[in-house]
Amino acid sequence: MNPDDKQMLAVDFCGLKMDSPIVLLSGCVGFGEEYTRVSGFSNRDVGGICLKGTTLEPRLGNQPHRVYETPAGMLNSIGLQNPGARYVVDKILPTLDLSETRFIANISGSTVEEYAEVARIFDDSPVDAIEVNISCPNVKKGGAAFGNDPEVSAAVVAMVRKATSKPIITKLSPNQTDIAENARRCIEAGTDAFAVINTLMGMAIDIEERTTILGNNMGGLSGPAIKPVALLKVHQVYQVCRDHGIPIIGQGGITTPEDALEFLIAGATTVGVGTALFYDPLVCKRINRGIVDYLKRHGMSEVGQLTGTLRLNQAKSACEVCKDDD
């Protein structure tokens, strides 16, 4: 890609200078080192990489099966297998070439305090930002996910805010009643950005054995199947974020340049790519190219001009539609 084209992809995401609006999603690319063994793949093709979800203590993760293909998507239930925050900071981060792209830690905890402690460890590390995965079970509150409740989500964000001066990206769950209200509370609590959305919880069943297929019984659905849901959630969260200048990583089933463009138009500043890497590990080059071609075709000079340019139809209530039909 020539330098002028490349320049069109550059974007500022809550203060992070990114060379592309593509962010590789947590849990899909290990700690940023795994895909580099694929010929033709480069971390430099993306604006940022969200590292594997990390907890305070090492975690073994869930029993297999951990992944299962579903119509236009897949379920995963890895169970946050990771070597612990201290190990990641001391042993893994020093092996990365930090000039390649922006590296974003992804933190999880079983208690609000654990989130803060993990955030403190990453605060004293070279990561560019911290993504907070609030979709984990809250062990002190009977295992309901932190992210399902705006109050609890905000409490996590507030604790992390106190623990770090790095940009905080809150990863919102679609498995809740009012994602916009949750976003509002997290902004008040000090988040700098959002990732919208995390996976939708699902299940797969083996009818012969009458058992669940995943070792953990349930797992997160990702891939094209969830794209329409994700687009709506990005749109809804954008309505809250717009006035605060809070950017969104739009994500959920993006596999083509057109998918990425839809998310940008809906209100995302950057776009997350995860499951699509499993279809095609070189998909990011294709998406970058497609975005540049689109921008040129529409007389735009930079990708940021697209964000939130969605024009809604003037929605009518059901009754008005009936009247029109008469």
């Binding site: 290990g30 063994r37 694929v38 995963n76 590990p281």
Partner: protein, 291 residues
């Protein structure tokens, strides 16, 4: 145990040949020069069976022809993905990634390699047999293959005597036989010339016929169903022999990124979840199946 860090090549591989065998088994040959050049026995390829399917399917490599740049696979239709793969025609292109995985490790001090393949666990054993045949060191492999559907080749009475074999167990795989490598077959389906029983029965008969010196030169290599590998691990323990087993698991990325395809292994520091794709697929049997 270190993970496989060699380059993985994405290739648009044209299907050169694709043939169906009884029991929903398929043999496929594709043009994939980079994969052919770098593959080792135990490596696999990750195939996009259909552009609309989110997940690729891992299929082990049976043979490669480095000069021709081709790769041979043998797979069995197991689910929707492999069913779609079976519909792909000669001349079409498949997106494939490979070679992937930590391969089998041959040890010159253990020349007597016992290769055990069950069902579609046979292909990597064929690859390993060929690799041993080509090695300058004089390996003496013996292969035992088991199948509960008709073997994807016409078995032939062996011209190579193997000590310890029960009477009438004479069927062999012609390809290996032509390389001068003895093989024997097992099945519970009563196929002629095959041992009526399990691969491990025949393995015990072979091991029992070896003298102590020869026995100390044996290493076991196996690929097949989980229960078979478990039985092979027990066999290795009973005879105090090293064994390498190739594992399978549902897989997503295939390059070590997602930790979806794990198997639990025992390490000196306790249990760990290792990725079948890059930490495996070949593991030390003792680590996967502890006593």
């Amino acid at each position: 145990m270190t993970s496989h860090r060699d380059t993985i090549y994405p290739e648009q591989a044209r299907i050169l040949a694709h043939e169906a065998y009884a029991g929903d088994q398929y043999w496929m040959k594709v043009a994939a020069p980079a994969i052919a050049r770098h593959a080792k026995a135990g490596s696999f390829v990750h195939i996009q069976v259909d552009a609309q399917r989110p997940l690729r399917r891992p299929i082990s490599i049976m043979r490669v022809d480095r000069d021709a740049g081709s790769v041979e696979l043998l797979y069995k239709v197991f689910g929707e993905g492999t069913r779609l793969l079976a519909t792909r025609q000669v001349g079409e292109e498949l997106s494939i990634l490979g070679p992937i995985g930590t391969p089998f490790t041959m040890h010159t001090e253990r020349s007597r390699a016992l290769l055990i393949g069950g069902g579609v666990g046979m292909p990597p054993m064929v690859f390993l047999a060929e690799q041993m045949k080509r090695a300058k060191h004089g390996y003496l492999p013996f292969a035992i293959f088991g199948s509960e559907v008709p073997f994807p080749f016409s078995a032939r009475p062996s011209a190579i005597l193997v000590d310890g074999m029960p009477e009438g167990v004479i069927a062999s795989m012609p390809l290996l036989e032509d390389w001068g490598i003895p093989s024997r077959l097992t099945s519970k389906q009563g196929y002629p010339g095959c041992h009526d029983g399990y691969v491990t029965d025949l393995a015990r008969a072979w091991l029992d016929a070896l003298d102590e010196g020869d026995l100390s030169e044996v290493e076991i290599f196996a690929c097949g169903p989980h229960v078979m590998l478990e039985a092979v691990a027990k066999l290795a323990r009973d005879y105090a022999l090293p064994a390498q087993v190739s594992m399978e698991e549902f897989m997503a990325c295939g390059v070590g990124g997602c930790a979806g395809c794990v198997v639990e292994v025992q390490t000196p520091t306790g249990p760990a979840m290792k990725r079948v794709c890059v930490d495996g697929p070949v593991f030390d049997a003792k680590a996967v199946f502890p006593a």
